[in-house]
């Protein structure tokens, strides 16, 4: 009875670990001046979507195990039909989603779309990403207790 119980516990623990350890992380930032709707993947099984993302705001990070190559659809919230993201204006750009990677869609000031893979350390410390959506170069962005004194990041 005891060995079976131990095996059961091991199975439960390992299944939980694999469910989280291999997930991809995705988020999206809207730098465009209007509300946006977007969807990654098809209507039947979208892996990441949001309606009414306000200007200059990000989504929270979403974890997904739906790996593969997906089409990114987007539209103004006031529009009825979605457009697919394309870099050649003909074919949809396929967005790769792989395990253990962190991805960010940035809808730019001009409506352009960028899809980034953001590296991160495999630790549980808090993490911060810097994004300059302003009109000019920023000399320095800093997370610290006091300006320019032993910055954390």
């Amino acid at each position: 009875m005891k060995p079976r119980f131990i095996i059961l516990i091991i199975i439960i623990l390992t299944s939980n670990m694999t469910a989280f350890a291999g997930s991809a992380k995705l988020f999206c930032v809207n730098l465009y001046s209007e509300d946006l709707d977007f969807q990654l993947g098809e209507d039947s099984k979208p892996i990441f979507y949001f309606n009414g993302l306000k200007p200059y705001t990000p989504t929270r990070i979403l974890s997904s195990n739906n790996f593969g190559k997906h089409i990114f659809y987007f539209k103004l919230s006031t529009e009825k039909t979605f457009h697919f993201w394309s870099t050649d204006k003909k074919n949809p750009q396929l967005c790769t989603v792989e395990a253990d990677k962190t991805y960010c869609f940035v809808i730019g000031v001009d409506g352009s779309i960028e899809y980034y893979i953001l590296a991160e350390k495999n630790d549980n410390n808090p993490k911060v990403c810097f994004l300059n959506g302003s009109n000019s170069t920023i000399s320095r962005m800093e997370i610290s207790k006091e300006w320019n004194k032993n910055p954390a990041a």
Binding site: E114, F130, E142
Partner: protein
Amino acid sequence: MENLKENGITTFVSVLPDNYSCYWQFPEQAKQNQWFYYPDATGKNPEIFSFKTGSYFLFLAYTKARVDYAILWNITP
């Protein structure tokens, strides 16, 4: 992070769990050794954000109607 170009994005930087504030500086300010900070409710001091274990943040600078802003978003899953 230094000299971050327009539309520039960084990797996720790992920091120790603690309380931090947000500062930034444009080139014109750098010449005069001045900087911006994200203010607290009084507007006189930097806001203090708690960076807890397992959390994720986006420090976003943007321009709206020709005015520059920056804000810290908690985007933890």
